[in-house]
Amino acid sequence: MTTISAVTSRVAAGAVTSEQLTENCLSVIQQLNPKLNAFITVTADTALQQARAADKEIAAGRRLGPLHGIPISLKDLLDQQGVPTTAGSLVRKDHVAIADAVVTRRLRESGAVFVGKTNLHEFAFGTTSEDSGFGAIRNPHDPLRSPGGSSGGSAVAVATGMSLGTVGTDTGGSIRIPAAACGIVGLKPEWGHVSASGVVPLSRQLDHVGPLAASVADAWLLYNAMQSPSDRIGDALEATPLKGLRVGTLSGYFFDRLDEDVERGVLNTIQHLQRLGATVTDVNVPHAADMAAIYLHLVFGDAAEYHAPTLESRPKDYTEPVRLRLEMARYVLAEDYIRALRGKAVIAREVDRAFDGVDVLALPALAIPAPPIGAATMPVKGGSDAVRTLMLRCTQPFNLSGHPAISIPCGVTRDRMPIGLQLVGRKGRTPALVQAALAVEAAIAG
C-alpha cells in the first residue's frame, strides 16, 4: 500500500504530481470497483480539477501541508457539497448535500482531493456491508467475504489504492472492524473530539468520525487535519519507546469468544511487545458481559427515533434486513433505554479504572476474520456465535466509554485473512495512543 507519509514529500518536491496520484486512484477504481463495489459515487472530474489546482499551488510554493494534493475518499454518510449523501440507502437517493460536513471542509482546506463517496452498510446500521441499497461490498483479500463494516467501502478503498486515505464513522466499531478485516489502520477518536456535524447519524451519543489509512502515521495526518486549526498538533509524532510501555490486556470476556487464529495472532503480538520491553498486566472491566445489551438498547432507541418518519413514508426503499431491525428497534421501552444510559455511565467509569497503572489497553479489534458474505454464524472458541454479536464484541465497549481506540494489522490467519490488534488510550491522550501505536506497528513490521 502506498502511504501518504511516503508520497507527500515526493509531491512537495515535484517528483510526482497530485494529478498522477489521482489518476492512479481513478484507474484502480475503474479496474476493481465493478468487482468490489467500494464506491457509490466517483467524482472523477472534480477530483482531477482539484488535483491540477493543487499542482499549480504546490509548484508556486503555496503547499498547504502534507495532505495537499492527496487523493482521499469519504464514507457516503458525510456531506460533500454538491454531491449526493446516500448513506448507502435508496431512502436518500435523491439527496444532494448543500454544504460540506465540518470534517469534509477541514480536509478540503488542508488541500485533500476527493475522489468519491464510499459504499457502506445501509445507514451504518450493520457491520458486514452486505446490506446496502447499492449492493454488497466485497473483501479484496477474498471477494467471497465481507470487508467488515459499516465503513466497508472506505476500508476496501485504502486496502486497494482506490484512495490513499479515507474518512469513516464508528458507532459500535464501524471504523476498526473493516480496518481489521481488510488489513489497514482505523482510528476511532475520543467521543466528541472530531465533529460529527454534516454526518448522517446512527446514534448521536455513540457516533464517532475518524480516519482509515494505510499506516498509523497516515491515520494521524488525517486525524490532525480533522481538528479545528487551533486544536491541531504537529503532523508527525514520534513513536513511544516500547521499553517501559505499560500495556493492560483485557482478559476474560474480551478473549472468551475468539477465532483460534485471531487469538493466537493477538497473543503472539502482545508477547512480542513484552520481549521488546513493554510490561504487560491483566486488567478487567467487571460489567463487560452487559455491554452488548446496553449498546443494543441505546443504538436501537436512537436509530428508531431518527428513522421513524421514513420507516412510515418510504419503507420499501430500505433493504429488508435493515428495515426489519429498525422496526424491531421501535419496541425498545423508554425505561430500558434509561437503564442502558445508566449502564453506559458505569462502563465509562470501569474503563477509566482499567487504566490505573497502564498506558494502553490491548485486545483484538475483531474476534473473527472477515466472515463469508451471507454467513449467520461463525465458529469461535467454545462453539459458534452470531456474526453480528461477534463483529461488535471487542469494539463497542469503547463507543460506550468514549475512549480513543485504534486498530492496526498484526498478521494473518492460516487462510491469509488479516487480523487486527486494538489499542485503547486514556481520555484526553489521543496523541499518546497514536505514539504507542506507532511503536507497536514498527515492532510488528520488524
Partner: protein, 180 residues
C-alpha cells in the same frame, strides 16, 4: 443521570421513568395541570421515588426557559410536541443526550419482559410484520440481561465522572415556580 419530562401524560410514565433512574438519578417533571401534578406527587412516596423526582406546575411554553440543563434525556409528551417547545429544549439537552418524542413506546405500570414481549409480538403481527416475531426474542434476551444487571459499581467519588454526575444532580434545586 438527569431526565426532564415535559408534560406528564399519564402518571404511570413518570413512575416508570423514576424507577428506571435508580436512586442516584433525578427527574424533573413539568406539568401544566395542578391536579395531575398533585396526583403524581401523592403517588411518588408509595412508589419509593419521592426523593428523586421534582414536579413543577407550569405551562412548558412559558416556563421552560427557566429550567437549567443539561439533561441526559428529555421526554416530550405528544400534547407538548410543538416546534417552539422543541426549540427551547435543544439547549437543555446534554451533548449526546436524547429527546424522546411521542413515537417512543412506554410501558404502563409494572410490565415484565415476558408481558412486554407478548405485547410487542402481537403488535408486530397486527402491523403485518410477522418477520419481527422471532427477532423480538433476541431483543427480549438483551432486555432481560439489562434489567438483571447490578449497576452498583461503587464509584470512587474522587473521579471526575462521579463529580460531574453529582454536580448535575444538584443543579435542579431551583425550579421555575420558586421565582414566580
Amino acid at each position: 443521570m438527569r431526565i426532564l419530562e415535559v408534560g406528564t401524560g399519564s402518571v404511570a410514565v413518570t413512575l416508570v421513568l423514576a424507577r428506571g433512574l435508580g436512586a442516584d438519578g433525578r427527574l424533573l417533571a413539568m406539568e401544566p395541570n395542578p391536579k395531575v401534578a398533585a396526583e403524581i406527587r401523592t403517588r411518588l412516596a408509595p412508589a419509593g421515588c419521592a426523593d428523586r423526582v421534582s414536579v413543577i406546575v407550569g405551562e412548558p411554553q412559558r416556563f421552560l426557559h427557566k429550567v437549567r440543563g443539561p439533561f441526559d434525556a428529555i421526554v416530550l409528551h405528544p400534547a407538548h410536541d410543538l416546534p417552539a417547545t422543541r426549540q427551547k429544549l435543544a439547549p437543555l439537552l446534554a451533548p449526546g443526550g436524547l429527546l424522546l418524542s411521542g413515537r417512543t413506546k412506554y410501558s404502563e405500570g409494572d410490565m415484565t419482559t415476558a408481558e412486554w414481549l407478548a405485547q410487542a409480538k402481537a403488535d408486530a403481527e397486527q402491523r403485518g410484520l410477522p418477520e419481527l416475531i422471532p427477532m423480538l426474542d433476541g431483543l427480549a434476551q438483551a432486555t432481560e440481561r439489562l434489567r438483571a444487571a447490578d449497576w452498583n459499581d461503587n464509584p470512587d467519588p474522587s473521579t471526575p465522572s462521579s463529580a460531574a454526575i453529582a454536580a448535575a444532580n444538584d443543579a435542579h434545586t431551583r425550579t421555575p415556580n420558586d421565582d414566580d
